[in-house]
């Protein structure tokens, strides 16, 4: 038997990246702007979806794709807030990937959508590795999770375009050093747009909504 070494040098997730590029082309062709929400379970992704949809429903045509291991609870909440909602049950997978989003895009009437929000599976590790083709990724952190998360999950903080710090109404009750948290995030992702807020009290939401509108408008050109 003769053996030989074959150089490969290929990114492991290149196939997913190519499909993500297809998704982006499809969204752009239909004039849809899209955001991918990442967070650990319980950080407030669905609350942020509800608040965002509720405040933009009169101004933009909205759709939400919800990724969950099981149940349609989150898509139901998005639909109740005024968006077209599609649920993806990943059946145990810990993240959405470009193929799953492709399937969801099939069932949406994309030309009738201005803003698509993809709510990823609650997980701070895996979703960061799988590009979907969305225009920007938003990480929803929350105060009770602790201020060490950028240090423990650098890959996720590194790869996002905006950072929401939810549940700031709980700051008086928990040991959360905002300066330590923000410095960790800044080292990984310089200039990251950051939005401290509370989806419960509404504090900070106006600034977030203005940012979302500005992104949609900038994309229209």
């Amino acid at each position: 038997m003769i053996t030989e070494r074959v150089p490969v040098v290929e990114k492991i997730l290149g196939a997913n990246d190519r499909l993500a590029a297809d998704n982006r082309a499809r969204l752009d062709a239909a004039g849809v702007y899209s955001l991918n929400f990442l967070a650990s379970p319980g950080a407030g992704k669905t609350s942020l979806v509800e608040q965002t949809v509720g405040r933009l429903a009169g101004r933009l045509r909205l759709a939400v794709v919800d990724g969950d291991i099981a149940t349609s609870l989150d898509a139901d909440r998005a639909a109740a807030a005024g968006a077209k909602a599609v649920q993806i049950n990943t059946g145990g997978e810990c993240h959405l990937d470009a193929v799953m989003l492709q399937g969801a895009l099939e069932v949406l009437d994309l030309p009738a959508v201005d803003l698509l929000i993809v709510e990823n599976v609650g997980n701070l590790v895996c979703p960061a590795n799988f590009a979907l083709g969305t225009h920007k990724s938003v990480l929803v952190a929350s105060v009770p999770e602790g201020d060490d998360k950028p240090y423990k999950y650098p890959g996720t903080y590194r790869g996002v375009d905006a950072l929401v710090i939810n549940k700031i109404d709980l700051l008086p009750y928990v040991d959360f050093d905002m300066e330590y948290f923000r410095r960790g995030a800044a080292a990984l992702n310089p200039g990251l747009a950051t939005f401290p807020m509370s989806c419960r009290t509404g504090e900070g939401l106006d600034t977030w909504i203005e940012w979302v509108i500005a992104q949609v408008e900038a994309n229209r050109g």
Binding site: M1, I2, T3, E4, R5, V6, P7, V8, V9, E10, K11, I12, L13, G14, A15, N16, E93, C94, H95, D97, V125, C126, A128, N129, F130, P150, Y151, P154, G155, R158, R183, G184, A186, A187, L188, P190
Partner: protein
Amino acid sequence: MHELSVTESILEIVLRHGRNAGATTVTDLFLVVGELSTIVDESVQFYWDIISEGTPAAGSMLHFRRVPGLMGCRACGHTYSPREDLPCPACGSTDIDILAGEEFYLEAIEIAVGDMEKQPI
């Protein structure tokens, strides 16, 4: 646990390159994994043994080359490990480049060729 999807991608890449090179079997895989990438070697190995079964890559060995993370401060030029801190431990700046540790790719495979008993894959 995204290692299952990751391992499926590895299999697709390995079989494609093996076929192009006229392999009868794939014997070894050389993966490069940065410290900051979230891949667990043992999990990839576990899934690999299951999903490569019945393919020309069955029984092949996985070799991981781990690349340590390296941060570089743009303000003072100090380089350090992300395990020390994320902001610069020398001057406190948060204006940082990540110089190494984010790698995740398949570098090479070793294949068997010219085995008269077997057809190329």
